[in-house]
């Protein structure tokens, strides 16, 4: 029943994206959604190809160098997000829903590129491992993180009238969420955490950051007095 296991893991990895897409009123943005996917694919593909070529060097060089490489990675993510949020114009989507579409598109593209190929190759084999179920959970955490990042990004760049006290908190949270991949890879390689532990940490932090960004978002809804 290896195909079965592949289906299970695929549902776990991509199901939440589909559910989110169908649950939220984003159905009107199909064309713009595809546009975003394309851009996100490009940005993510560049990220993937670059990080692959840096992999052999990471083994040889000091851990700090790998940290520097990955800091380029989040800079690229932020740039891509910025362009996605500000440059792409949509016909009849409100500002608030834009971030959800961007975040969802980003997370979906990320999942497809990073997780579909290993899933297709690995989960179909006879051998059973928990790795692919954990990968699915990681995809869920990634979705939540991308949505938080998109929300915070939209707060930073699209909302002009923000309460002054909240601005540094917004930037700090955006920074944390954007550097989350570097943090998890440091935990994996630097501290040597096992995969289940890392996934648990990711889930926990994603929920915490989502809650914080939700609070910030609703706080910014109230016009400053």
């Amino acid at each position: 029943m290896t195909m079965f296991h592949f289906l299970n893991c695929a549902i776990l990895t991509f199901g939440p994206h589909a559910v989110y897409y169908s649950a939220t009123p984003l159905s009107i943005i199909l064309t713009s959604f595809l546009q975003q996917i394309r851009l996100v694919c490009l940005a993510t593909f560049l990220k993937v190809s670059e990080s692959d070529s840096f992999d052999p060097y990471q083994v040889l060089f000091v851990q700090s160098l790998s940290g520097i490489v990955e800091s380029f990675d989040w800079v690229r993510r932020c740039c891509g997000l910025y362009f996605a949020l500000t440059q792409l114009t949509h016909r009849n989507i409100s500002q608030n829903h834009k971030f959800q579409a961007v975040g969802l598109g980003w997370a979906f593209a990320d999942s497809v590129l990073h997780r579909l190929a290993p899933l297709w190759v690995g989960a179909r084999g006879l051998e059973f491992t928990w790795d692919f179920v954990l990968q699915g959970l990681e995809a869920n955490a990634n979705l939540v993180l991308c949505l938080s990042l998109a929300a915070l990004g939209s707060l930073i760049w699209l909302r002009k009238n923000k309460p002054k006290t909240l601005i540094p908190i917004i930037y700090a949270c955006a920074g944390i969420v954007a550097t989350m991949p570097s943090i998890t890879s440091y935990l994996k390689r630097g501290l040597g955490w096992h995969f289940p532990k890392v996934v648990g940490f990711e889930l926990f932090t994603s929920l915490v950051m989502a809650f914080i960004s939700w609070q910030l978002f609703t706080a910014c809804q109230r016009p400053s007095n």
Partner: protein, 660 residues
């Protein structure tokens, strides 16, 4: 516009990933060796299948599930160390169906393993396992087994897997109505902890036995909700072990082997080396010849493991060393004897010395008449001090007396004991085909025949021949032919050296007419001393080379090496290639790679699917509530402004104020 390069690079990346990841699939890959498959006069024997793809089971599964166990889709893994002989005798004798059989041998029986010694108790354990192994081998060779049988060696990975399989088999008892599942050692049995009906408060702590139970089936709450609580707890007690068992991983063993095919023309290759003696000038008579014969091929339960260090690797090594010593002597015309020497390495030994028979038949009549006598070497490598000289001619015969006296004199000097054993050739069945049909009949009726054959009997009574062996009784058909338990760790090189000295010295004294005189031709520390490192290197080479005749071709490295070695020591080397007797048909596919996969059961996948479906449904409803409400709120606030929202809520009161 820039979509195409992106997608094409993505596709290439995917292809690369797929190609690389195909290589690592199984958790463990082990080399295994298949039981021999052969037909004897049309009767199929040995293991008839090669491909294997079933779940792993241990002997505990059989004992726990009892007689009702259906093992036709299970591979039984049985370590030979713990093997129960009566069990396996019943199983094979009664032809019970089985998915496959994997016998695990201790590492000391591996041809690559070099024994580091060990104490006396290790030796006795080794001997015990050896006896069990000989018995098992005999059972398997003479039975028709319709499922694949493989031999493997114990190592950590296989040990770990077997431990897991045993644990699963212990807890794998089907749940009965009363117990609700077999209790694991260390866990309290659920039925023991069923409290009386009114005692709910204690229930909560006792029922939570495993995280799986508490997660899925048991709802813990401090306030007992009478009937519902009890029902949940009951479900939990039943669910827990059942779930644990279903979720427990089982192992699947896969050997991907093609259908075994017949070996097309199984060849018997005899290699003979001729060392001519010194012919006196003017002497037109043919010099007498002495032949030294040893069969080099083996037969065993696992052809890929049949290295036959003692049977008959020791004989081959002794023959080569004797050839080397006499080549030194014969290289100089002054020390060349007046006997020709013929060194013959024959094949087809286990098959009633087929090779020797064919070699004799094809030999030149005149040459055959010049053979004074022939010595056959068979199994002279074990560490006992006693050797036997087996003869077919009666001991009163003058030739036999002379040969035996020669051997006795030398053996006394060496501290060996040589006995004489006389066994008549069975003349009532002179023809080979008659003998083999007798064997077929006997096998079909299940009775293992006692046909005692020595190599020297092939020479029949025309040529005086004897066999020197450590065995006092002729081995049975296909027995002592270099099976699983015959490897380097069970032979003694010093014994081989001693036997070489015995034969060489006796022969030399006979050749040079020095019988009765106390002379040590092959003395130690002389240029003619026995070379122990030569013996050791050849023993090592032969102990790592399986030598089952049908699988050896003329260009096999072994044949080439033997031919070259004889060519170094003798003047003329002839290689004779014949077809193995039609009574025997062999099948290939003698080894394979066993892939061990950890697989999860179907139920586990179903449970996972249910969990995921419920998770997605919960997520969907949560998101609908959250986003619709929030977006409604946010849109309203964004478009209308907060004051309007507040005024919306204040309108009734303001109206009230107004009216008031």
């Amino acid at each position: 516009m820039f979509v195409e390069p992106v997608y094409s690079s993505l596709i290439t990346l995917l292809i690369i990933v797929v190609a690389c990841a195909e290589l690592c699939d199984a958790v463990t890959v082990v080399d295994v060796y298949r039981l021999v498959q052969y037909d004897l006069g049309g009767v199929p024997l040995g293991s008839r299948l090669a491909a294997l793809s079933h779940h792993a089971g241990s002997s505990l599964y059989l004992s726990s599930a009892g007689a009702a166990a259906d093992l036709s889709r299970t591979v039984l893994i049985l370590p030979v160390r713990e093997l129960n002989l009566t069990f396996i005798r019943d199983y094979i004798g009664q032809r019970k169906p089985l998915g496959g059989l994997l016998l695990l041998l201790p590492p000391v029986f591996s041809p690559q393993h070099s024994d580091s010694g060990g104490g006396a108790d290790q030796d006795s354990a080794k001997d015990l396992v050896k006896e069990v192994l000989i018995e098992v081998e005999r059972l398997l060779i003479h039975a028709n087994i319709p499922y694949p049988v493989y031999f493997g060696f114990e190592d950590e990975a296989v040990h770990a897997m077997l431990g897991d399989v045993k644990k699963n088999d212990i807890t794998g008892q089907p749940a009965t109505a009363t117990t609700g599942g077999q209790s694991e050692p260390g866990h309290p049995s659920p039925s023991d902890q069923r409290p009386p009906l009114g005692n709910f408060n204690n229930y909560a702590s006792k029922v939570q036995q495993s995280p799986l139970d508490s997660l899925l089936c048991v709802r813990l709450s401090d306030e007992p909700i009478a009937f519902g609580y009890q029902r949940w707890a009951l479900i939990g007690r039943r669910c827990g072990p059942w779930l644990r068992r279903r979720a427990a991983k089982s192992y699947k063993l896969v050997v991907a082997a093609p259908e075994p095919r017949k070996v097309a023309s199984p060849a018997i290759i005899n290699i003979q080396g001729w060392l001519p003696g010194l012919k006196a000038d003017g002497d037109s008579n043919q010099l007498p010849t002495i032949a030294i014969v040893a069969s080099y091929d083996t037969f065993g339960a696992a052809p890929a493991l049949s290295v036959g260090s003692d049977s008959n690797g020791s004989g081959v090594v002794a023959l080569l060393e004797i050839a080397r010593l006499f080549s030194i002597l014969y290289s100089n015309p002054k020390t060349r004897g007046r006997y020709n020497l013929l060194f013959v390495l024959t094949s087809g030994g286990p098959y009633n010395y087929n090779g020797t028979h064919k070699w004799l038949r094809s030999m030149d009549q005149r040459l055959r008449e010049t053979i004074d006598y022939a010595i056959c070497l068979n199994s002279i490598g074990s560490s006992s001090n006693e050797l036997w000289l087996h003869v077919s001619k009666p001991p009163e015969n003058a030739y036999i007396k002379q040969i035996f006296e020669g051997f006795s004199t030398v053996s006394e000097e060496l501290g060996l004991k040589v006995g004489l054993k006389h066994k008549k050739i069975n003349i009532s069945n002179p023809r080979e085909s008659q003998m083999l049909s007798f064997i077929c009949l006997a096998l079909r009726t299940g009775y293992v025949p006692i046909c005692m054959v020595w190599e020297h009997e092939q020479f029949s009574l025309r040529v005086t021949a004897a066999t020197l062996s450590e065995l006092s009784v002729a081995p049975d058909f296909l027995e002592s032919t270099g099976g699983l338990s015959d490897n380097r760790n069970f032979i003694n090189e010093a014994s081989i050296s001693r036997s070489v000295k015995l034969v060489a010295e006796s022969l030399a004294r006979h050749i040079y007419g020095q019988q009765g005189k106390s002379i040590d031709i092959f003395a130690d520390h002389s240029s003619l001393s026995i070379n122990p490192s030569y013996i050791r290197s050849w023993v090592e080479f032969l102990s790592t080379t399986p030598r089952v005749a049908p699988f050896l071709s003329k260009n096999d490295p072994l044949i080439v090496a033997l031919k070259k070695e004889l060519a170094d020591h003798t003047v003329e080397v002839n290689v004779q290639q014949e077809l193995l007797d039609g009574m025997f048909t062999f099948y290939d596919s003698t080894s394979g790679r066993l892939h061990i996969y950890q697989v999860a059961s179907v139920t586990f996948d179903l449970i996972l699917l249910l969990v995921l479906a419920s998770y997605l449904i919960v997520l969907f409803s949560f998101l609908v509530i959250l986003t619709r409400v929030i977006s409604m709120l946010a849109d309203y606030v964004f478009e209308q402004g907060l004051d309007d929202l507040i005024s919306l809520f204040r309108r009734p009161s303001s109206r009230k104020v107004k009216t008031a």
